[in-house]
Symmetry: C2
Subunit: 191 residues, 2 copies
Amino acid sequence: MSPERLERINAMLDQRQPDLTVCMEGVHKNHNLAAVVRTADAVGVSDVHAVWKNETMRVSGGSAAGSQNWLDVHNYTNTKDAIDTLKQQGMQVLVTNLSASAVDFREIDYTQPTAIILGQEKFGASQQALDMADQDIIIPMVGMVQSLNVSVACSVVLYEAQRQRQAAGMYQQPRISQQRRQRILFEGGHP
Amino acid sequence: MSPERLERINAMLDQRQPDLTVCMEGVHKNHNLAAVVRTADAVGVSDVHAVWKNETMRVSGGSAAGSQNWLDVHNYTNTKDAIDTLKQQGMQVLVTNLSASAVDFREIDYTQPTAIILGQEKFGASQQALDMADQDIIIPMVGMVQSLNVSVACSVVLYEAQRQRQAAGMYQQPRISQQRRQRILFEGGHP
Ligand SMILES: C[S@@+](CC[C@H](N)C(=O)[O-])C[C@H]1O[C@@H](n2cnc3c(N)ncnc32)[C@H](O)[C@@H]1O
Ligand SMILES: C[S@@+](CC[C@H](N)C(=O)[O-])C[C@H]1O[C@@H](n2cnc3c(N)ncnc32)[C@H](O)[C@@H]1O
């Protein structure tokens, strides 16, 4: 690996936020999967979680999501396993949800360890996700359309998290472990 | 039109922001066009502008962009005409641009009449757009990807504008003309 490339990758790793993550629950259109992962990378998310409703989706969707091999994609076959894992990691679990009872997404403290659940394109998040999550959040809308595109909703929330974390100095010092850094440098250096 | 529907449309019109707009310069993938228009509607944008590089794109793209008939789509065949029009309307013209000299998008005052230019998926905004615009703006990225999806970039900027305008009370009283309201009610009532 050239010194410039090593420096570039280390600079990226210095900004990674291992305690900010996204969980796609049944998102299956490839352009949405790709856009979610791309935005996640851009704000420093290091891990993305995906619940696949069936094998066909997992295979085709997994490659769209994995096209950025600079973050780790974790796959699940059901929602319970995914949310259990996120909770074991000490995350507050937020589910984006078009409901009058959901709180405005800007009221959340994203400097806490946070996982954001995104629902399926047509049907939204499942009842199980809503039951298990700590809080549901909504992005205000004042037009005639009923909902935003899922990758758009994801990025609006992630950039609010980025804003808060930047203000709190969380991009100022490296936050991933040495061990993880070495693994990613090794894998990235030998693609 | 039922009284409920009339009320719903009037409530939407009360939130419209006629001096906040988006101009797509050569954006041509249908899912991006649709997502841009959907997000624009959601933050209260009343007019969207589109520069088409050729006739085929205009026809197929125009229908994707026009799928929401609650906002007006203005079509151009070249960038100069579009930006001239926006400037005649007294807009500050911002172009989203991946350049080290662009300013952070959060530094802009979006309570001013504002047009945001979005560049083409592959090649970004044209030199002409950069030359004619008042300012270029960038959304910070700290990962390995080079750029965001165009509809994602659009929505991150539009929701910053929505945040500022909400704080300034600009959604508190109707801002479109009576004449325009009557036209939209008439058209929307007779689709
Ligand atoms: C197209 S929407 C799903 C619409 C579905 N009919 C529903 O009612 O949930 C797909 C996903 O985008 C996200 N989303 C879209 N608009 C949102 C908003 N305004 N606030 C929060 N999340 C939103 C949610 O994750 C949602 O599950
Ligand atoms: C995929 S990008 C174009 C990439 C192109 N290679 C370039 O260098 O401009 C498509 C459009 O999305 C917008 N965009 C994407 N990422 C952006 C960012 N970080 N800041 C500002 N605009 C961005 C711009 O409008 C850009 O023209």
